[in-house]
């Protein structure tokens, strides 16, 4: 039976450096979502000598917007639904570990849902998963874990972390299964958070994880992967925004405006900038002999600029709210591979600090659809150097 491979977090403990977790206790809180990944993490760690506590974050009430216009009447949420909590609880019961549900709905709404809506209304394209990781999973959950006596947490993310004594830093690395790589959403982790987190799936492929789940007789070994944004079960974010604003009694701001060509010619009108994302092709309501793409969204004038595919590419980007992982700070130009959205193949670029806490990335080759609101994450081979939010 495969066990936790290359337990770096164990082997690198006793070096006596300030960041070393040598004083961490043996209790680990497993963040359990009710899915196969985090359930398998619990089963794997149970085979090791850890004391485990299962925790599930209750983040959103899936019934809250059910039945509003455009929202499903009956929701089958992929996250935080009663079914998922039930699954997580059953896994914990079968493993014989204590399990608790933490109600974090208020914090989730404040720090993930509202910013998500606000970003779209400002013409940007947000990444709620990164916000959730930064504010809930690796912040609040870790605090809760430590409060109840677990010095570390374990999650089902596909990523690797290890301590590098030479640099005296915790390093975040891409996982063995690059098709499941979630490091893009984890660039905001601090050194403290990385030192207190176990990613037991980092050395496994998804099929191997399912196999381990089956070996542990986890009933949910074949449960489908979650795909969409967890709090938008149908996946239609525009309808979610309408329904959420309606529930809040807030009017949808009028951000209708002109569709213009790259030469400034008005070629149509649109109903609101939140309906667009940079690089989008469908749903523009325009007929054209060649496909048209959204190139720019101006939230001051509500103008949406469209153009040919060749015009969607861009040579540079700026990002802010930076977090560095493998380096303490960026002190000069650095050659990196930059990833600008979850499914983007990282591209060669040179990064350097500009202005006040902003990084400028200059790509070797122009990149399609650099989208404000997404993050830019910089890699050195498998290592995450750091990242920030695209302006």
């Amino acid at each position: 039976m495969p066990q936790v491979r290359e337990a770096n977090w164990v082997s690198s403990y006793n070096l006596g450096l300030f960041i070393m977790p040598s004083t961490f206790n043996n209790t680990v809180a497993v963040a359990m979502s009710g899915g196969v990944d985090s359930s398998t993490v619990a089963a794997m760690l149970k085979d090791e000598s850890y004391e485990l506590v299962g925790l599930t974050l209750q983040l959103w009430n899936q019934r809250r917007l059910a039945g509003k216009e455009g929202m499903p009447e009956q929701v089958q949420g992929r996250c935080c639904s009663i079914d998922d909590v039930y699954d997580a609880r059953r896994v914990a019961e079968n493993l014989g570990i204590p399990y608790y549900l933490l109600n974090e709905q208020e914090r989730f709404e404040e720090q993930v849902v509202r910013p998500f809506v606000r970003e779209y209304l400002a013409g940007r394209t947000p990444i709620p998963c990164s916000l959730c990781n930064n504010h809930l999973k690796f912040d609040q959950l870790l605090i809760r874990a430590r409060q109840i006596g677990a010095d570390r947490i374990a999650t089902g993310h596909y990523a690797r972390n290890e301590y590098d004594p030479e640099r005296n830093r915790w390093i975040l690395k891409r996982p063995a299964d690059t098709s499941k790589d979630q490091t893009y959403f984890l660039f905001g982790l601090t050194q403290d958070q990385l030192s207190r987190t176990l990613f037991p799936l980092g050395n496994y492929t998804k099929p191997e994880v399912r196999e381990i789940a089956r070996e542990h007789a986890l009933a949910l070994a074949s449960k489908p992967d979650s795909q969409e944004i967890c709090f938008i079960p149908g996946g239609d974010y525009k309808k979610f925004i309408d329904a959420y604003l309606d529930e809040q009694g807030e009017p949808l701001p009028d951000s209708s405006g002109e569709l213009v060509s790259t030469t400034g010619e008005v070629i149509g009108h649109h109903q609101g900038i939140h309906n667009f994302t940079v690089g989008q092709r469908k749903g523009l309501g325009l007929s054209s002999p060649t496909p048209l793409y959204v190139i720019q969204i101006d939230n001051a004038s509500n103008k949406v600029t469209v153009g040919n595919e060749s015009e969607t590419t861009i040579q540079t980007l700026r990002a802010r709210d930076l977090n560095w992982i493998s380096i303490a700070s960026l002190d000069g130009p650095m050659r990196v591979k930059a990833k600008i959205r979850h499914r983007h193949e990282p591209a060669w670029a040179t990064i350097e600090m500009v202005g006040d806490g902003e990084v400028l990335a200059t790509f070797d080759d122009p990149q399609r659809a650099v989208t404000p609101g997404q993050s830019a994450v910089f890699y050195d081979n498998d290592e995450v150097i750091g990242g920030g939010w695209i302006l």
């Binding site: 506590v53 109600n103 990164s130």
Partner: protein
């Protein structure tokens, strides 16, 4: 690991005498109490003996006792059995959800409902109840003791007000049974709910006292069980256990047990108040049942303290448990005008009759350190990005 149970208001363990009383009724005397044959007769005799024991606990006639599946069914039977569209129901904002949600459902179906508020000390004011009475008021339902704070409600006075106005009066006595003397004659109530498992009988057993002459529409239809008030074959072993538990509870009311529990509760309460800063008792200036204390620990999350204590071996509760198990802010503490932060920082400790001095020592040895750790690691807005 040592485990100490201080969540009696959620449920209590069977006492051995109750289990012993029940044991013959699973295999040996398994009969259906409605059957003609002698197996049935034996079952019938056991049910009726239990009915007498329960009747003695609340000072009513045995025929006025209806066995149910628990407190929730008893409360639902009382409310849905009496209140129809157009009728007015007076209840309070601190009732158990079994009453509160039933009342909301009645309102959806066309009844008029008044939820009277409570004081900051968690008690209903009988004069507010009196002033809420309307010509169409059919029923007043006010609990005898609150499950979260233990605060005893002025039910005798409310019973008198209801009787003078010729209005039916129901009291949910789930948290009072076994802790307070219950006399339906002095309470002047028409309906009274009891749950078995809050007084060392098995889960899935309960009682509704129905004063003779009170016409209740049943919830269940089927056989003519329980004088046509509750169809369904009797839960024989459960009812036998409930009868035995009622006998034990009645004896414990006068043998000093309650005073002993109160002394332990007071020692726990005073110990926490002395050892942990920024604490206080919710409803502490009201008369309370002997086993309950609801304490606030400002500047920490009660939900996390419950978990931390559980992992150290002490069972307590925060807000009322709900289906998903996530703690919602308590409607009872909110109704007492606690700030949401303080409501979420509150824990309920509810002792059983088996709680010992050692248990209190244990609790006092872990609560201060657990609370200190939570406060030390209090969530600051430490989000790194975005």
């Amino acid at each position: 690991m040592k485990r100490v149970y201080m969540d009696a208001n959620a449920t209590t363990p069977l006492v051995p005498e109750v289990l012993d009383a029940m044991r013959p009724y699973f295999i040996e005397h398994f009969g259906n109490a409605s059957s003609i044959h002698q197996q049935g007769q034996h079952a019938r005799a056991a049910v009726e003996q239990a009915r007498e024991s329960v009747a003695a606990l609340v000072n009513c006639r045995p025929a006025e006792i209806v066995f149910t599946s628990g407190g929730t069914e008893s409360d639902n039977m009382a409310l849905f059995g009496l209140v129809g569209p157009g009728d007015h129901l007076i209840t309070s904002s601190i009732e158990h959800h079994a009453v509160l949600h039933a009342a909301e459902k009645l309102r959806d179906r066309g009844a008029e409902v008044t939820f009277v508020p409570v004081s900051g000390e968690g008690a209903v004011d009988p004069q507010v109840v009196r002033r809420s009475i309307k010509p169409n008021t059919k029923l007043i339902s006010i609990m005898m003791a609150n499950n979260e704070t233990g605060v005893i409600q002025p039910v005798s006075e409310i019973g008198r007000i209801a009787a003078e106005a010729d209005i039916f009066f129901h009291t949910d006595a789930v948290q009072a049974a076994g802790k307070l003397t219950i006399d339906v004659q002095t309470l002047r109530c028409d309906l009274l709910s009891i749950s078995g498992h809050k007084m060392h009988a098995p889960q899935g057993t309960g009682v509704l006292y129905v004063r003779r002459g009170t016409q209740l529409e049943p919830l269940f239809f089927g056989g003519s069980h329980e004088r046509q008030r509750r169809a369904g074959t009797e839960n024989l072993p459960g009812i036998v256990g409930l009868g035995k538990a009622a006998e034990i509870a009645r004896a414990a009311l006068t043998d000093g047990t309650i005073q002993k529990v109160a002394a332990l509760r007071n020692r726990l309460e005073q110990g926490v108040l002395a050892q942990v800063e920024e604490t206080g008792v919710n409803g502490g200036n009201s008369a309370r049942v002997a086993n309950t204390t609801n304490l606030y620990f400002d500047n920490l999350e009660g939900e996390a303290l419950v978990i931390a204590l559980d992992l150290k071996g002490l069972c307590t509760s925060g807000g009322s448990a709900c289906a998903s198990g996530a703690a919602e802010p308590s409607h009872v503490l909110s109704a007492m005008n606690l700030t949401p932060a303080r409501a979420r920082a509150s824990l309920r400790f509810s002792l059983t009759k088996q709680t010992t001095e050692d248990d209190i020592d244990f609790a006092l040895s872990i609560i201060p350190t657990a609370a200190a750790r939570l406060r030390e690691l209090a969530p600051v807005n430490a989000g790194t990005l975005g």
